[in-house]
Assembly symmetry: C2
Homo-oligomer: 117 residues x 2
Amino acid sequence: MTGPADTPADENESAHPVTGLDDVVHQRVRLGILTIAHEARRVEFGYLRTQLELTAGNLSQHLSVLETAGLVEIEKGYAGRRGRTWITLTAAGNAALAEEIARLKLLITRVETANGQ
Amino acid sequence: MTGPADTPADENESAHPVTGLDDVVHQRVRLGILTIAHEARRVEFGYLRTQLELTAGNLSQHLSVLETAGLVEIEKGYAGRRGRTWITLTAAGNAALAEEIARLKLLITRVETANGQ
């Protein structure tokens, strides 16, 4: 059974765009991690830390949240003798980022429509 | 003294767009409050609560954060004998929302540029 044709659950016009945002993805630092991981095939921990101006502990915490949600994969390895941690966006992470961007666009449209009134 | 001309602090190209997002504004619920308050001259507490699907306690907490930051004004009054709380966006709140939207657009452009590669 699907809902009535005039009230599709996912595009309910009475619901505000932010109600559909996922805090796991929307949170500022995690949105940054997902965006950077989306730009490269895989990114190194130190690079993320520099780009996002974070402490290692703070970045680790946010990566754990994303890994638990299945949005990134974390892989430990070596560059010569030095330990390195690599982060890769999963297919679910890619989809979640696309969903976030789509909802942000709806939000921006609402704000800019109000500006024009 | 200002910084070197080739490294303007506010538009440093090496900084990721999310580093410039303000958590006070970017947080999902508060972004919703500011967006709705931006659309109307003033909004009633119960309307915000329904639109954003929040408990009264949760909404109150987020409104306090915004009020402390000077982004909204909160006014208590009456509609007949019933107490009502009204929320108005301040000029600073309007500017903060505009800044957030501008940074989100930069972020969206980055994600979509990566998609096109």
